[in-house]
Structure formats: C-alpha cells, structure tokens
C-alpha cells in the first residue's frame, strides 16, 4: 500500500507530473469531481511549454505555471477498442486523487499569483479552515495529517495576498476550504462603559474569580469592601492586584471596586489583576498592546490537577512497603 509509505504519495505525484505530456493521448472518462478538469478547457496545447521551472520561483519542486489542461480521451468507440480505459484525473492512481487534484490546483494558483504583494500574517483576515476530519469528509478520502498541513500552508500563503489585489480566482478557491458559517465572524460586541461611568471586567486565576469595576477617580481601591491593605497584607499581592494600572501609569486616575471570591490570597490578587485589566480595556481599548506586554491579558488557565485513584495526590505514589 502506497499510503503506508510516506513517500508513496510523493512518488505518485511525481509520476503524474512526469506523465503529463502523455495526457492528450489518453482517453477521457465521463464522471469527474476533479477541480482540474472542471476548470480546464478541452483545447489541447503543446506539452512542451507546460513543464518548465520558473527562474524566479523559490519553490524547490516543479511547478506548473498554468493549470494543466488535461484532455480526456475521445469517446470510446467500442468498435475500435483502445488499448485501455483512462481515468478522468491523472492522479487517479495516487490513491487519493481528489486531494492531490486540490493540492495541485492550489500550487498552480499560488505559482501564478506569487508576485502579488502580501501582508503580514497577523494582518491577514483570520480564516476558519476545515479541520482535518471535516476535510476528510469533504474529499471523502483518508488524508494524512502531514499532507493536510502542507495544503493549509498553501492556503495561508494565498490568504496573505493583499485583499484589494486578490484575484477572484484565488478568493473563490480559498472559500471552498472554509468551514460553513465563519466562526471568527461571531465576535462579541466590545464592552462599553455603563451609564454610571463604570467599566466592568471579570478575571479568574486558580480557584478565584473576581469582578472589578473601574471608574475615573484618584486611586482608591476597595476589595470586598475592605481597603487594599486589609484585603492583602502582603505587599506583593497588592502590587499584583494593581499591576494593570501601575504599568500603564493609571493608578491615580481610576478607582477600583472589586469583588473576589474563592481560592487563596495569591489567586484572589491575580484574579483581580485580570479583572482590572479587562475593565481598563473597556475605558481605553488602545492600551491593549501595553497590557499584553505587561502580561495581564493572557489568561493563566491552570487549575489544580485532580487527584487520581491509586495515587496519594495528583502525581504522588504511595511509598513502597515490603509487606
């Protein structure tokens, strides 16, 4: 089986590429889901122009400039039997012909539009590509993970083409690989300061959860109705609770009113950090990069690891006893 061998598909594709000049002489089959044939014209062109390496291309493998116009064989004349029946897709014998067709199609599109200006990857719109299982359903073939990753790489590179200059062909091809109902479109509406001038944020850390309300003020902090000193006798905890304001030099510009419950002192203080940072973003969304550098945007999702049966604690094993 070629699938078991990681080089099997590569060899198959290589043999298809090698066999491309022979294509016009082969026959055409009737049914095809191949994107190559659906987009291809029936006109035959000389094969000598198709296979050449672009001088500027950075890619290491041979790339077709145009989509290869594979021409199916003429209808079968039963009176004049051909040597053999030829499948519609040249990658028919690769074992996963549809996937290979998609891959080849994308490669050729990319090669065609490689010269278009691109944007930084974080500037490109976020796309919800098919998950691997979904893609397997889509093509109906057992696609290996690594191969699909390679396909995604090409898709992401195509997605980086500047939106204003992106050809229709690229757009429509990319869209085929999107999950139905773009999940990244469903963004919650940005929080607003309420009618009392309060920005609200919630934060969690360890077992603690905190809600913080931020109003413009002069640096008063109340935690569960107590002052900062009464709530956190340790200076380190006080500093971490107010760190979002401190690192943006906003400590004397806002008043904080926080409710926190659960967990211990450190967890409560750091839950407040997160809550205050999010409440501050409600007031000043532009502070997000600063706050991210200060480390108060990233959520620490770690929780206490559960105890397991047979263990004394989460990981600890009972000591060995002779009898």
């Amino acid at each position: 089986m070629a699938w078991q061998n990681p080089n099997g598909l590569v060899q198959a594709m290589h043999s298809i590429r090698q066999a491309a000049p022979l294509r016009p002489f082969l026959q055409r089959s009737v049914l095809s889901a191949s994107p190559i044939l659906s987009a291809s014209s029936t006109t035959t062109t000389t094969t000598t122009t198709r296979l050449f390496k672009q001088p500027n291309s950075k890619r290491s493998y041979a790339t077709e400039v145009d989509s290869v116009d594979f021409v199916a064989a003429p209808p079968v004349d039963l009176n004049k039997l051909p040597a053999r029946l030829v499948p519609v897709s040249p990658s028919y014998f690769s074992g996963s012909p549809k996937f290979v067709d998609h891959l080849l199609n994308l490669e050729s599109i990319l090669a065609k539009h490689a010269h278009l200006p691109i944007v930084e990857s974080n500037q490109a719109p976020r796309m919800a590509w098919f998950k691997l299982a979904q893609f397997r359903d889509f093509v109906g073939e057992p696609v290996p993970t690594k191969k699909y990753k390679g396909l995604l790489k090409i898709l992401q590179r195509l997605n980086r083409i500047d939106r204003k200059l992106m050809p229709h062909e690229v757009k429509s091809t990319i869209e085929k690989f999107l999950r139905p109902g773009n999940p990244y479109d469903l963004k919650p509406a940005p929080a607003q300061v309420d009618e009392m001038g309060r920005g609200r944020g919630r934060g969690k850390r360890k077992s603690s959860s905190a809600v913080a309300f931020l109003v413009e003020g002069d640096g008063e902090v109340r935690v569960n109705g107590k002052t900062l000193v009464e709530a956190f006798p340790r200076v380190h905890d006080r500093e971490s609770a107010t760190w979002a304001l401190q690192c943006t030099s906003r400590l004397d510009k806002y008043n904080v009113w926080a409710q926190v419950q659960g967990g211990g002192t450190t967890g409560q203080a750091e839950a407040i950090t997160l809550a205050v940072a999010r409440a501050l973003l409600v007031h000043e969304p532009a502070l997000k990069p600063v706050l991210r550098k200060a480390g108060v945007i990233t959520v620490d999702a770690r929780r206490v690891e559960r105890k397991k049966p047979g263990h004394v604690k989460a990981r600890k094993m009972p000591t060995w006893v002779k009898r």
Partner: protein
Amino acid sequence: MVSSFCWSCLTRLPTASPRAMLPPTLTPQRVAAFHTSSTLLASPLKKKSTGNVAAPRYRQANSARMKKKGKAVERARPPPAGERRALRKRIVLSNPNALEVEDMQDISAENMVDSRLHGAVLGLPVPMLDQLRAVQAFKPKQGWSIFRRPGTVMRRESLELGRLIDSISNNPEDKGKVVKRVLTGAKGTGKTVHLLQAMAMAFTKEWVVITVPECQDLVLANTSYAPLSDKTPNVYVQNEATAALLNRTVTANQKVLSTLKVSREHPALKSLVARDMTLQDLANIGIQDPAAAWAVFQALWTELAATSAAPGFEAGFSPRPPMLVAVDGIGHWMKETKYRSAKFEPVHAHDLVFVQHFLSLLKPGNNQQSALPNGGILLYATSGSNSPSVYSLDVALKQVAARRQGVTPSSSNFPQPAAYSKIDQRVFAALDAPASSIPTEGALELQTMAGVSRDEARGFMEYFARSGLLRQHVTEEWVNEKWTLAGGGVIGELEMLGRRLTVPAQVE
C-alpha cells in the same frame, strides 16, 4: 487447676448456653459449694489486645517508621532570664549610618501650630527623648531605628492637636478646657504615634503627662494584685503597677513636679507627707513603698487636680498645669482579666481600681469640677494589632460617635448591639458619657485615624529619601502609587514601602 467445667450440672457446656450471654457480674455468684473457683464470666465486650499497632489512619504514612537517630543538637545554654525580653523590648532611636536631614525642625511651642509645616517631618527634640522614653512613648517596631533621629509627620490631626494644646495652655478663654477622645482606626494608621506627638507637645508646654503605655500589662496577671480593702473585697489594687506608673510620671515630669508643693492634708498617708513636700517627693514615697503606691497616686492626683490650696497651705501654692492622660490599647480593659477572685472567678477589668480610675475620667466630672479641673486632654487609643475582639466595645464606640453627632439614644438611628449577641453592659456603662454640665468640659468624642493625604505622604517619603534610605526620585506619580499600595496612605504601610529596597519595574 480445677476445671471450670462442672460435670454434674453442665453449666458450662459450650453448646449455646444462655448463661454465657448474661452480662458479667462483678461479685462472685452463689453456686454449688464444691466449686472452688469463682464463676465470673469473662467480659464479652473485652477486646482482644493485639500485639501489633493499630492500622494507619487516613493519610497517615503506612510505611515502617524508623527511629531517627538523634541529631547531635548543640544545646547552648539559654540566655539569662530577662535578656530575650530586653532584646525584644529594646528601643533604638538612632542610626548613625542614616543621613542627617538638614533643616529639619524640631517640635517646639512655635511650630506646632504652624500650618505651613503641614506634611513636613518634625524631629523630636533630643533633650526630650529621655522624657518620652520614661513615659514609654516609643514602641519597639515603629521603625525609629532606621533614621538618624526620631521624627514625626505633621499631619492634619497633629496640627489640630497642636492648636488645641496651644490654646489650652495660652488662651485665657480655653483655660481649664478638657478634651476627651478615644482614638480608633485601622492597623498602622498612626494612633500610637499620635499619642507620642501629643506627649511631645505637652512636654514642650510643660504639662503633666501621665501615660499607660500598654493596657494589656494590667490585665495579664503579670503584676501582683490584692483586694483594695476589707470593705470592698471585689475591687482590686495593683501596687506594683501603680508604683511603676508613679515612677514613669516622676521621671518624665520631674521639672514640673519638683516645683509644685503639697497643698492639703492627706489623711490616708498620715505622717508620711510633710507640709513643705514637693509633689515629686510625694510620688517618691509610693515608688519606694509599693504598698502605699495607690494611696500616694490618689494623693498625687488630688494635688494635680487642685485648683486652690486648703486653708493653711496657701503659702507655697502655685497653680497646677494642665494634664495629658494618654492610654494605649484600651481594648484590653473592656473584658475579663486573667486575674481570679477568691471564688476563682475571672475578675473583670473594671474591677481593678487602677482601670476604674482612668475610665472614670471619661465620665463628666462631679461636684462642679470637671474630670481634669486644670484642663487637659484625655487620649485613649485602641490598638489595631494587639486588640482583643470585644463586640461591646465596637458598638459602644459607634454609640459615642452617634452621640457626638447629636443622635439621641432613644432614636432609631442610634447604633444598638445585634439581638441575641453577648454584650457586656459594663463596657456600655463606661463609655456612656453624656455631655457635661460644666462648660469647660467637652463630651467624649471618637477620633478615627485614617490614611494620610497625598501631600503628607509625599513629605514622609521625602524624609526617607533625604535620610538616604530611598534611592529614587520622589515624584508625584511615585508617591501616588505608593499611596494606593499603602491602602490609601496608611502611614505604617507607607513606612514599610519606603524602607523596602526596590528595583523599579521595567515595562518596554
């Protein structure tokens, strides 16, 4: 050995004998005469005593526990008695490594009313330090030892106190005025240092300062106690503690007391008091003979409270100065003590005559005389760190504040203890001080100490920087940050932040 099995009556057949199920009896039962052994049955409830130890409990290690070989512990000889305590209570007021703060003023009669010095740190005059040490105004962990010499911030409350002391001393309108205050506030808000400032100001004005630096010492059963007299077996006197009080008072107020003469007979002291005796000598009687200490203290108090001399004593009489009575940690006086009565019941703190005397000053005076007839200030502070939780005191202090705001006790807004709570009526009675009929005597008021303002915090932090303890530019932003971290300018926390060596955070 005789078999316990009786062959004739078969009483002990092992086959389901109902006898065996009977409960065991302690006395031998009457049985057939030829039985030579008693028929006491073994207790069926008695457990088998197994040789091995019990199974390990939940979460107890079930591995074999090896006896650890005893480490060779270096058992040094413990320090002599009292040395550790002395080390713990040692008060260091100077640090030669700290920089001298130039142009720092000392507290004096002129600048204690100067509002331009609001937020500045004023030093305590060096000659006065002995007096302040004598009245135990300094506490061990207040951080005096990091500065060249002790200094305190002139905060709003201090300036107000300075004006008050100044007007009682100098203003003829306020002559004989009495201000009674209970100081409360969170831990580290400067209650004790406020008392210290009051003492320092009183010393500059040559008042008589009487202090109880630690209320707990009187209720811990560390000093001797005895019934006051046969007539009052439930009231106790603490002679040693009273002698210590007299000692403090004499040492600190020597300059004033040595100029004042006895102005009346003291029948309780009989012939011990001479006619021309100074008050210092009078107090020394109590210090030398603690058995007479309480009578001497009463005599001294009468003398200090005298507004005129008794007939026949007018010759050497000079008017008495105002008094400052400073008591720290009154929470301990609001509950039962560690002392026991003859019936071995706990003695309430209000049954100690020493405590009774100082608490009675909070009440309005009687016989047309205020509590301090020559005027003065009563400052009774609660403690934030060493304070027993006395619910009745909390409510009673709220009542004091409400009464001061004009809420009548019959009003529904008047704070009341929660229903079904355990309350101590004696605490309520002690702090229930209605307004006095004497015009010079103020009603009992509650002063709540909170954090210092930002300006005061800045002055305090600059003092740290100028002492070389803080290697940072004291900017407004930096002070604001510390002000918030100190819970809104709690000065004890500011001091902790100021002395902490910090590396400024780097945020690119």
